[in-house]
């Protein structure tokens, strides 16, 4: 039997994104040396929301951003049944000397973030890299990686799935915890 529980609804997500944006502004001011990078495929929905909200709050239309595909940098290529099909790499910028905010939806084992940091370095040596996460599944890390900005911290068992749905593909924004028994 599959049990499904909603953790965040559309309104919760909206409020959380606003708070995350305020925290980003607190540290990055006008974003003139900051680049926002969404991790493909699912981190880009969150990064697009954040860029839209920041643009609205700061009234500066040109926040530098990109979407990073990490497929070729992963460490589980031959541990899966099927090879990972790459997503679009949209990185028409240099990260040399920039402050990078890396954005993904869920932080679980930390392995994707490790790959993403590796992939980032192909575009220059950034001044700093921070991590922004909508949901932090704490106590389930395989690697010593911690986020700088957290939407919500959740405790979930390894057998439970945390799924973030986005309006663009699923019709509405919500976060679900799925447990199969």
């Amino acid at each position: 039997m599959i049990k499904e529980r909603q953790i965040l609804n559309q309104q919760d997500i909206k409020i959380t994104i606003e708070r995350l944006c305020q925290q980003l502004i607190e540290r990055h001011n006008d974003f003139n040396n900051t680049v926002i990078i969404g991790v493909q495929p699912r981190g880009t929905f969150l990064s697009n929301r954040i860029i839209a909200k920041l643009t609205q709050l700061l009234k500066t239309p040109n926040i530098e951003s990109g979407n990073l595909d990490i497929s070729f940098y992963r460490d589980d290529l031959r541990r899966r049944e099927e090879p990972i099909v790459p997503q679009v790499m949209d990185m028409n910028l240099s990260l040399e000397g920039k402050n990078v905010v890396l954005i993904d939806d869920v932080l679980f084992t930390g392995r994707s973030v490790r790959s993403a940091i590796d992939a980032l370095m192909a575009f220059g040596r950034p001044k700093s890299v921070e991590l922004l996460i909508l949901l932090d599944r704490r106590f389930s890390r395989d690697l010593p990686i911690q986020p700088n900005y957290v939407g919500r911290t959740i405790d979930a068992l390894e057998t439970e799935k945390v799924i973030v749905e986005w309006k663009e593909i699923n019709g509405k924004d919500r976060v679900l915890m799925i447990k199969s028994e």
Partner: protein, 310 residues
């Protein structure tokens, strides 16, 4: 679909359309990677690849080696000219000796048709065919079709004529399979003596008149006259071949449309292509070379994905 239907790349004959589409989609990503400031990804850092070249090759070997290095694989190179093959070692013995050094993938170029199929049945490694005699040269066909797709948006619906020595050309055979699987219309052109007997069974018709062929096509893939594979004289002289089947600016200007010229290299300038055509904007020969690296990265990445981790 995120997996190839085959364990080895032995020929285009063994692939289906979704395999080719997957290779192209993966190559799109690698083409971006090789235009990045840092052109290397760590995907195959735990894979060892042996390039076994029993026949001369410059660009295919360089292209494979570059693709392997950009995927971070460990690479060993072998060419028969400087090896124990000269001392009488068989292909199977050579391959098994190399495999004993824990090699995961073999890229094989061999003068005998079917050498890669033979090796795939007898050794425990993934095989990528880099040309086996007059049989197939699958990565060349993939990069040719990929270059057509890049230029026209799609391969399907285009008319492609392959010009030259079809009889001895593995590039021609692989190209015919590949382009037909992708929905293009393929015809060939060249002296009748250089046409294989089984052309009809491939669903391909033959132009003996170059002008008519060029007038019909969108893309002309021009092949090199492979004198090294010709055991008897198939035409009177290279000069006569160049007069009848050589493409120059004059014949291109006489057409009522612009066509694209491709060539797998190496070009015999003044024989199949004149220099002004080879260096003109019609020719996408250097794009083919760049795409070759991306295609080979995609093939190796997808084949490596089929090696089970133990």
């Amino acid at each position: 679909m995120s997996n190839l239907s085959v364990d080895h790349l032995l020929g285009i004959k063994y692939l289906n359309k979704s395999d080719i589409d997957l290779i192209f989609k993966t190559a799109d990503n690698f083409k971006k990677i090789i235009n990045q400031p840092i052109k290397k990804v760590p995907s195959l850092r735990d894979i060892t690849i042996a390039n076994l070249f029993f026949e001369d090759s410059t660009r295919t070997k360089l292209s494979f080696e570059l693709a392997e290095k950009r995927l971070s694989a460990d690479v060993i190179n072998f060419s028969s000219a400087s090896s124990s093959v000269k001392k009488g070692e068989t292909l199977l013995d050579t391959a098994n000796n190399i495999l004993a050094m824990k090699v995961d993938i073999i890229v094989l170029r061999h003068p005998n048709p079917g050498a890669s199929v033979f090796l795939s049945r007898n050794v425990n490694a993934k095989i990528v065919n880099a040309g086996d005699g007059t049989h197939e040269h699958p990565t060349q066909a993939l990069l040719d079709a990929y270059s057509i797709r890049e230029k026209y948006g799609d391969v399907s619906g285009n008319k492609i004529v392959i010009i030259g020595d079809i009889l001895h050309s593995r590039v021609a055979l692989s190209n015919i399979y590949c382009l037909q699987k992708l929905g293009a219309e393929v015809k060939v052109c060249g002296p009748s003596s250089l046409m294989p007997k089984h052309l009809d069974s491939l669903g391909v018709t033959h132009f003996s008149d170059l002008k008519k062929a060029l007038q019909w096509c969108d893309v002309a893939n021009v092949l090199r006259i492979q004198l090294e594979r010709q055991d008897v004289n198939y035409f009177p002289s290279l000069r006569e071949y160049a007069m009848v089947y050589g493409i120059d600016k004059t014949i291109l200007k006489s057409l009522d449309k612009e066509i694209t010229i491709m060539h797998p290299g190496p070009i015999n300038r003044g024989v199949e292509l004149s220099s002004d055509v080879a260096d003109s904007k019609h020719a996408i020969i250097l794009d083919q070379v760049e795409n070759g690296v991306a295609i080979r990265m995609a093939v190796l990445y997808l084949i490596a994905g089929r090696i089970k981790n133990n």
